[in-house]
Symmetry: C2
Subunit: 437 residues, 2 copies
């Protein structure tokens, strides 16, 4: 609509996550017009999403309106809409709002749509094993977990109540470790004196990982430390157990069945479906196989960054799907665009790995850089500092710090709300009811 | 289930709002077993709900888990469930959880289910004119308002965009006044620099009241002061205008049509449907006509308190549906139950009216007691102090204070999140689309 107003190059960025927002901000002084399109109006600080799911933080504490983040950047505008297609030949993005599909022309395109939960083809599991990628996911997990305790309180002793008080977490990456630890703490510290008939501390939290160790991306010593800290907290860690089924009653692990009415899924992600429709090569998880400059083969004006792309690092292994990779890629392609580099002038993207960390709970975490490995209290302090530091927006940082301090001092959680369809979570599916009757 | 364990009288309280929670807490030292049943797991501080709707506070800031509030009260237990019926003759409450209906026997019953939005028989308006009674309502209002600005930003100039930037608030009671003022402030202060194509400050907020003044429950001088402060803020106040229709395009006011894609409804409430099924006399709004001791005629062991009941005050007019009445009634019936008073020994309920207040916005409010009337900054300070004071739970009070301080200093709002079905709010109904095509 403003296409003829001036001769600035038009940059469209799809996605306001770590990668997309980093790219937009890095283009602030470039002679370009930036349009950032996202399906939601907020940037989400994903690393803390598990704390919303575990009733520790409110959604607003870890989200910032994209418009607010970019309000002072005069060359950037924000569009709430869903990208339904990209025409690489005509150089147009097709974005749908509530009524129409718009074709938006671009000179440079940055695709940063991120990832979504993957069930590796077992889509029937989706209903029972909920993933954690959006605020709505987090609120739904919070609801299911809190409702399970409520239902257990009403249930007489027996297998049914045990199932309500058993929580399975599938996937032993950072999110799985964090969810399992926080869930155990919720049962042990927060809910303990709230019920009259059940002892919430008897709740079982079972963390299931198909491989032989947790936190594959970290050093085996960190994996062992995380496991020890989880077990110390009371989490049952099951390694080398392959999930073969998930239904309303629990998890099938080969011949073994774990009765659990609440199942959380953190076993994998895949790129959003749009990547498969671009007509370019993708890996099994739908990630675009980008060139060393993060561009799409044959289209030097189109970049894919963050979790929607796959690229080998210096060690020959694909770069991990973590926020530092996304942010660095976003800034890198912004520089290429700002300087209008031709493909042959571009130095390949290099990831500067500052280390990795995962938190287990109160004063329990693991952290490592190339030189140092920490566990326990020191790792937890490092985790706290890094996460508050990176949390966007001054206000959110204060709110999170306040909440954490309060939780630390009182062993309470401030966001224990069941909202939405309150009583429906543990309703059995109809078929099972009819069989039972 | 514990009915034979001891000889304590069994008290069932239905509803964890101001009235029910006050009754439960006032029974702490009585020789009774208290069961509080609620459909949600939290007590909601209703007077601040409009701030959640206007993106100023998070739901968790104004809600406290009922279990947590009562955790140290040994004679109280909490049940998450929906009461579907009451058998006054058999003295049993029928409560449904996610799977079954339980019949719970009582010796004393306190019904404190509160009210819900009433459309006075025009239930077709419900879809387009959203009320504000629950957290889910507040989040939905927040979503519709924020989505309207987003849609306006995409829309070319014209009637359609004007409709998106017009917000109608129907009903000039405290909630309507507060919503209209906060909405105008959102447009004027918060969103102003966030958009590139629209000026959010041009958004129209129209407050519609059928009577000839706002805030009927207060002195006419307060009504005038509220109106002046609203108009000063830029709200259009329409008095004496009867709403004759509400649809996706706006509000019909007799011969006049106001094009407004977002319509908020604060024109009235009625008791929840359960009251009509008790077989006792109710008023037009479904409120049980209780005796001077808040009991149900013919059933001295059953009390109805708060918004579910109607009772005349000392001036011969029905007591207003406000939280002080609810709390005082809850405490009053708790005392009758604790002391096991026979009907003839009961002194009638007397409401101690400490005054009323409504806030318009930043440093704008009205407040009055029998002796003093305040407006502007002083009224606003009084409003702040009273609301923070009564907000349950130390932690919420700190969070709210922090949020307000931050908002006051920065003119920002911290909870500007669009969640849920993000793009659907302003989708036109199908029929209109087809006509247009």
């Amino acid at each position: 609509m403003s296409s003829e107003r001036n001769a600035n190059r038009r940059v469209i960025i799809v996605g306001g996550g770590f990668a997309g927002l980093a790219a937009a901000k890095a283009l602030a002084d470039a002679p370009v017009d930036v349009t950032l399109i996202d399906r939601t109006n907020h940037h989400l600080f994903q690393p803390l999403l598990y704390q919303v799911a575990m009733a520790g933080l409110s959604p607003a504490d870890i989200a910032a309106p994209i418009r607010k983040v970019l309000r002072h950047q005069k060359n950037a505008s924000v569009l709430l809409g869903e990208v339904v297609g990209v025409d690489l030949e005509q150089r147009r993005v097709h974005a749908r709002d509530d009524r129409t599909v718009h074709a938006l022309p671009y000179d440079h395109l940055v695709l940063a749509m991120g990832a979504r939960t993957s069930y590796f083809g077992n889509d029937a599991w989706r209903e029972h094993a909920i993933g954690l990628k959006t605020i709505d996911d987090a609120i739904e997990i919070r609801r299911r977990v809190l409702v399970a305790f409520e239902a257990a309180e009403r249930e007489p002793e027996g297998a049914e109540r045990d199932g309500l008080l058993t929580f399975a977490v599938i996937g032993g990456g950072p999110t799985g470790v964090e969810l399992a630890g926080a869930l155990r703490e919720l049962a042990h510290f927060v809910l303990r004196r709230d019920f009259r008939r059940i002892d919430s501390d008897h709740a079982r939290v079972v963390l299931i990982e198909g491989d032989d160790r947790l936190l594959q991306g970290m050093d085996p010593a960190s994996s062992d430390a995380a496991r020890a800290q989880l077990e110390d907290l009371g989490v049952e860690v099951r390694l080398g157990d392959m999930v073969t089924g998930v239904d309303a009653e629990g998890v099938q692990l080969g011949d073994d069945h774990l009765r659990a009415r609440t199942v959380l899924w953190s076993a994998g992600v895949e790129a959003v479906p749009l990547t498969r429709e671009l007509g370019v090569e993708v890996d099994r998880g739908g990630r675009v196989k980008v060139k060393p400059d993060c561009s799409v083969p044959g289209h030097p004006e189109v970049f894919v960054v963050g979790d929607a792309a796959t690229l080998e690092g210096a060690d020959g292994r694909p770069l991990p799907g973590v926020s530092p990779v996304a942010m660095q890629q976003g800034e890198y392609v912004a520089r290429l665009i700002a300087e209008h580099r031709l493909p042959e002038q571009r130095a390949p993207f290099r990831y500067h790995d500052k280390g990795q960390m995962a938190t287990v709970g109160r004063r329990r975490a693991v952290a490592e850089t190339r030189r140092v490995r920490l566990k326990g209290f020191l790792a937890w302090m490092a985790w706290l500092l890094v996460h508050v530091w990176y949390l966007i927006g001054f206000r959110n940082r204060v709110a999170v710090l306040l909440n954490w301090t309060w939780q630390y001092a009182t062993y309470q959680r401030g966001a224990r709300l069941i909202t939405g369809d309150r009583l429906g979570a543990h309703r059995r599916p109809k078929a099972a009811d009819e069989e039972a009757g």
